[in-house]
Amino acid sequence: MFAEATEVALKSGWFLEHAWVVPVIPALSFFLIIFFGKRMPKKGSEFGVASMLGSLVFAGGAAYQWIQRVNGAPEGAFVSPVVKTWTWWQNSGISFGIGQHVDGLTVAILLVVAFISTLVQIYSLEYLRGDRRYTHFFASLTLFSAGMLNMVVAENMIQLILGWEIMGLCSFLLIGHWWEEGANSRAALKAFFTTRTGDIGLLTGTAILFFSANEWTTKTLGVSGFSIRGLSSWALSGDPGHAAITMGAIALFIAAIGKSGQFPLHTWLPDAMAGPTPVSSLLHSSTMVVAGVFLVARLYPVFFKGMDILGGSANFIVVIGGITIVIAALLAFVQTDIKKVLAYSTVSQLGYMMMGLGAGAWLPAVFHIFTHAFFKACLFLGAGSISHSSSHHSFEMKKDMGGLRKFMPITFGTWIISTLALCGVFPFSGFFSKDEIIDNVGHNGYNVFMYVGLAGAFLTAAYMTRATYLTFFGQPRGASAGEHHEEESHDSHAAHDDHADHGHDAHDSHDAHASQGPHESGWLITVPLIILATLALSSGFLNALPFGEKFENFKKWVEPSAEVVNPTGIAYVVGGVGEARIASETPTDSTVEEGEAHSETPMAPTASGEDTYSSESGHSKSPCGTETPEQGVCAAPQLNHAPFKWSKAGMSMLIVLAGFLLSLFVCIQLYEKKNKKFVGLTERNKVLGFGYKLLVNKYYLDVLYEKIIVRSIAHPISAAVYWFNQKVLDGVINGAGTTAKGIAGWVYRNIDQRVVDGAVNGTGSVAQGAGSALRPVQSGKVNQYGALLFGAAAIGALVLVIVNT
């Protein structure tokens, strides 16, 4: 069969082959900031911004060359990833490397992460000006980006874990940046411990998959069972046993639940808002929380087979995603803190991505990562802009905001664009990704979850309308009305203020803010906002399905083809064998699409030949994912794509519109007119009151974790240990004591007094002499003890050597 194969040279390029430089630049910059930052004129922030710009250039170059590579490849052929690897660790037949695995998914996420990181760093120059830990903030922020970028280019699971854990550590540092406030350091700990709970799954899953896959990958592909391309092909090869791959996939998905804030481990994410706003923006748009989704997208074949996606019944991923969408969206309604609304909105949107992945809608989910990063970063930075310039560092919508649209036109405009994008209004970017997810979920037969998605769209529109209304409309309240309530700013949103009080000149400038009243932020804040809003508006056109196939660029560039390829064609290893060649094996009309939208565009076969697949060319489906390829290997499962229909899009538009109008109506009644029918409804109506109480208490999940689980495990253990200590240990010691006393009395009377005393008096004087001689040794100086210890050990070693030779 391979005799017929056409060899097609694929383009590569310098940036593509050096994509590993992207995470290395910020990693080096981290050390520069730590060691030299405080001595620099800009306190180290110049290193951070410069390194992120450097990463952005490299990521952009890699993305450009990847697009060239895909465009140069025949239609529908599998474009092999560009892989480079150095051996990191090797012993007794087991080895793993460190390097890069660059394909469409990698370059897309690299570009987003580098881009958002750059903007967030620029924004932080203004937002954290005068902060007492300014240098450390930039160091952590840079290392954080390095961790995410490293995870994205990771060639194998070990490198991925490395990046994953760097992010975990840096999120702890950044969330707890103002740790003088108890609540902030608790939030940091909570984020760290909750994600660590999930990380157990990552380690377990990696181990399970390694031990199951290593033999096959070594034999077939010549790579270890940690390698991502190895695991992907192995999952689709028919080699894995059902139990192994299912357990591996579940374990890895638990890690994704922890990191990506899925139900039931989402509780850390809203608390993580204790960090400075740029951190929230970076963590919750493109990096930390996307890591879990990225993991699922990266190792998609493993989840595809392990979870039996497209198998016809609901699976673990789609269920978790669906639950997360709804519960998080409901929670957003009862928040008064604008950042918490956005946090729950992030959780809900991550639910969409997970649901999409779980239902076989890989491309829309990845595209949603891409678009969501822009508009969510813009929303967070907008919230930061409000608190920085107008509401005196408060995030309370009800108390300290309102009517800000007149004072902050740029922030307001960018906020509105991003909100529309988040709600999925045509033609903003969210429409092209979120609607596609909902569509494809339904198309793949998960009808229940399609309705869950639509309900989520309704709720999203409603809570965002509420937040927008409270922030930008109505009358200014509290701090934004110019009230400078000193005592209040200390207890409710003290993080920033308190820190400024501790610190130095920053406090004066803060007072200046308040006395000026609400105003627009400086250009270091507004320019990133405008750039992000532009992208929130336009990035959807990268994959604008309604306008026909010409606009489906993202799909063309990012989605791997499900072609069966020769094992050597699974990757282009830089400097290795099989350079830049793929074995384009099947001359079927090889596009991966299915469905009527594409049926009228027949693809020209890339090569002609007589082989097994040409007989099936009618149904244009690769066997990958559904059956075991007879020869060659697969790198990606065959997925379906829902054809775009205006009727379906129109329906979801109507639902969103209904959400807007209903929420607007309720908001006006509730906050503007103080309608008696609405105000205090939750206190009068029992059902609503119960629901409200449930939401305010976050479904009692925190209570469950802290009071019940931790207490039920930790308290019995400590009680048991205490009991053991008091009763058993003390009992033994007391018993021994009494016995010893009895014996001693007898000995004293009979032996000691008569026999020993005489002898003792003699030895006593000897001992006294020896004691005073040795007393200087017991100097109480630890160093001297150490010296004696090592001296004795050295003498012992010497004796050992002499005796043995």
Binding site: N91, Q778, K781, N783, A787
Partner: protein, 99 residues
């Protein structure tokens, strides 16, 4: 396999560590020196593990890393308490244990 170089490196690290433990007055630096000693042992273990082609040494090294982390945790907690009570972490001033 060049085991010698590893052993020499380990010996040098060990000696630096011992010197630090004996000569330093700052408790934190003493703890760091202890880390150096532990890591020189790790290098020895890894060198022989590589030479013998077995994973045992690596496993031991992982254990040592874990235990060293716990040890430093306890050690730093003690240093912190010392500092709180005496406003100093100079080991020379801590000679109340003398007999």
């Amino acid at each position: 396999m060049f085991v010698n170089q590893f052993l020499i490196l380990a010996a040098v690290l060990f000696c630096i560590g011992v010197y630090g433990v004996i000569a330093r007055k700052n408790a934190v630096l003493v703890l760091m020196s202890i880390e150096l000693i532990l890591n020189s042992v790790n290098i020895n273990l890894l060198a022989f593990s590589m030479r013998n082609g077995s994973l045992d040494g690596h496993t031991f090294a992982l254990y040592i890393i874990a235990i060293a982390a716990a040890e430093v945790g306890v050690g730093l907690a003690m240093v912190l308490l010392m500092y709180r009570n005496r406003r100093s972490i100079d080991l020379d001033e801590l000679s109340e244990m003398k007999g």
